[in-house]
């Protein structure tokens, strides 16, 4: 025991007491103050003192067309460009004290028509669950969410109706997206009006 104590004595006297601020708290401060968001995304803090709970609003634009190897795919992609433009989609973020070991909990607060978002607001985004790593940050999650609006993925459906429509009949899918955003009901499901 004595040995250990003498080690501290010999150590550089400049070592100062370390912060009482929790590691999670510092990390969230760092993530938030270094967010690099495009103009299509805005954060809102219902209580500005509480950095662990906030909202993110995404107003998707056209996005950029990806150059795909097959002309046919490219055409299909082109059809879907900017399909969610004009909408404002709000997500709630809840960060716990075990961040960044645990990912933030993210939910869509509206009922929206999207292949990767279910009617309860659960979002299918790999980095929110199985592929989360502490090196990722809030910026990665937000960029990932925005990407879902530019490139919905019919292969990982949470809203099966929407996913089926998207892969089978793109025109109908586009039409459904637009009318859902105006707050209409599709196949018996009432969607929220999300026009910005």
């Amino acid at each position: 025991m004595i040995k250990i104590w003498s080690m501290k004595k010999n150590e550089d006297a400049a070592t100062k007491k370390k912060p009482k601020t929790s590691a999670a708290q510092i990390r969230v401060q760092k993530d938030l103050t270094e967010l690099d968001l495009p103009s299509t995304m805005k954060t809102h803090f219902p209580d500005p003192i509480d950095l662990l709970n906030f909202m993110l609003t995404i107003t998707p634009d056209e996005g950029q067309m990806l150059l795909l190897p097959h002309a046919h795919d490219q055409y299909l992609n082109f059809l879907l460009l900017g399909m969610y433009k004009g909408g404002a989609f709000t997500f709630s973020f809840a960060i716990n004290t075990n961040y960044p070991h645990d990912p933030p909990k993210v939910k869509c607060t509206q009922t929206i028509y999207h292949p990767n978002v279910d009617l309860e607001g659960n979002v299918c985004l790999n980095i929110l669950r199985e592929d989360w790593k502490p090196v990722l940050n809030l910026n990665s999650v937000m960029v990932g969410l925005q990407y879902l609006f530019l490139e919905p993925n019919a292969d990982d459906p949470l809203n099966k109706e929407a996913a089926q429509e998207m892969s089978k009949n793109r025109d109908q899918f586009l039409h459904n997206v637009k009318s859902s955003m105006r707050g209409s009901s599709i196949k018996g499901v009432q969607y929220d009006k999300v026009l910005a």
């Binding site: 004595i2 040995k3 250990i4 501290k8 007491k17 912060p19 601020t21 270094e34 003192i49 790593k133």
Partner: protein, 418 residues
């Protein structure tokens, strides 16, 4: 040696341990006080804290008591589950202390049932050593940060060695953390395996495993049915509800294997514990505690891992301190400022200092934000603070955490007033 032999010590009790303590050996430290000095410290002065009285904790308690530690405190918050009894051989929480005291006379075990977070710095300061046998990452991070914060350069005894044991099935690890001197628990956080999580779309659409059905019940159905009500994974009723939902789901998809105990295992993230792995890791932890307390031999530097999945493989290495560790790394700077200095002037001073090299810093105290650069709403909310004086914002001075894109992680300021 009247002082090291109380009434309870039977004849020859310390015969074997005294072989080690009575004379220095080739590997003993210079500071080793062979004979009465070290025995007195071990048996009459040292006070040790064990966190966790589960499978690992029970082994640790037994080993400590038999090695000659006499004043042992133990904290555990878990409720007892019948599935734990195969390895928690001290039977029941309320019995743990009692059991050891009966079994090993002369040992005083003081239990505390509750959260480690209930206790303050003064509580932790009374111990010489802390041993963790926990299954929670969150609790480990907390105790690690607490012990790092406890270190006061002016008071060497504020340095509490932390010995952390952990097991997962056939795998385990034991490590010695000397807060602020060696790498800490937070330094190695990115070495952890991530918990198994299934893609939410698999759970929702194409379940193939019983676990998928259980996650469907807990991740999707629970919040849908109960809204914000929190699931209590220690409440058998909640587990039964999840089990019923998961079993129905499994039937629908013709998946076999959903049981009540698997449901509990999945939602509580229980990894099967192997009694012998616990025994090995506990033994290693207690050896280190003994060596550190007595200086009778070189202690572990600083990470021992055991992999028993295929044969027995173990490896010992020095885990390095992470420079930008949010708990033990980063720089700390003492700043004496005039009480009438405004926050804006303080920030300007920070950005001008050559030794800090900081651009666009954001500042906060442990309880409030002082000034955040972004996002715009928070910048606006904290902007009025810029014109306030530092003494008005942090009366009495204290700790300020600074983050900035130019810093590897963060900088800690200790503000005092001139």
């Amino acid at each position: 040696m009247a002082f090291s032999q109380c009434d309870h010590d039977w004849e020859g009790r310390y015969y074997h341990i005294d072989q080690i303590l009575d004379a220095p050996g080739p590997r003993t430290d210079e500071g080793f006080m062979a004979g009465d000095g070290v025995k007195d410290f071990l048996r009459n002065q040292s006070k040790i804290l064990v966190i966790g009285a589960g499978g690992l904790g029970c082994e640790i308690l037994a080993n400590l008591a038999l090695t000659g530690f006499k004043d042992i405190h133990v904290i555990d918050m878990d409720t007892i589950d019948i599935s734990n009894l195969n390895r928690q051989f001290l039977f029941r929480q309320k019995d743990v202390a009692e059991f050891i005291m009966n079994r090993v006379p002369g040992v005083k075990v003081t239990p505390y049932f509750g959260k480690i977070q209930d206790k303050d710095d003064d509580y932790y300061l009374q111990f010489n050593l802390v041993i963790c046998g926990l299954d929670s990452i969150e609790a480990r991070r907390w105790i690690n940060a607490t012990l790092v914060n406890l270190v006061d350069p002016e008071n060497p005894e504020s340095l509490k060695p932390l010995i952390d044991g952990g097991t997962e099935g056939f795998k385990g690890q034991a490590r010695v953390i000397l807060p602020t001197i060696t790498s800490c628990y937070e330094c190695s956080l990115d070495m952890l395996n991530k918990p198994t999580a299934f893609p939410i779309c698999t759970i929702a659409n194409t379940p193939r495993l019983p676990e998928h059905c259980i996650e469907w019940a807990s991740v999707l159905e629970w919040p849908r049915v109960y809204g914000d009500k929190k699931m209590d994974t220690d409440n058998p009723d909640d587990i039964t509800w999840l089990y019923t939902i998961a079993a129905a789901r499994a039937k629908e998809f013709k998946i076999e294997g959903v049981t009540w105990s698997l449901t509990q295992g999945v939602v509580k993230n229980i990894i099967p514990a192997i009694a012998s792995t616990n025994a090995i890791i506990a033994a290693s932890c207690c050896n280190e505690a003994f060596k550190i307390a007595t200086s009778s031999a070189a202690y572990l530097n600083n990470y021992f891992m055991l992999i028993g999945t295929e044969g027995i493989y173990s490896y010992t290495f020095e885990h390095e301190k992470k420079k930008n560790c949010p708990v033990c790394g980063g720089d700390a700077v003492s700043l004496a400022v005039k009480p009438d200095m405004t926050l804006e002037e303080l920030i300007e001073m920070l950005t001008e200092r050559q030794d800090i090299q900081i651009k666009n810093p954001s500042l906060s105290t442990p309880t409030k934000q002082l000034y955040l650069r972004a996002p715009p709403q928070l910048e606006e909310a904290t902007r009025p603070n810029l014109l306030k004086t530092v003494s008005e914002l942090i009366p009495g001075g204290g700790e300020v955490t600074v983050t900035a894109g130019t810093l590897p992680f963060s900088l800690s300021l200790d503000i005092t007033f001139t």
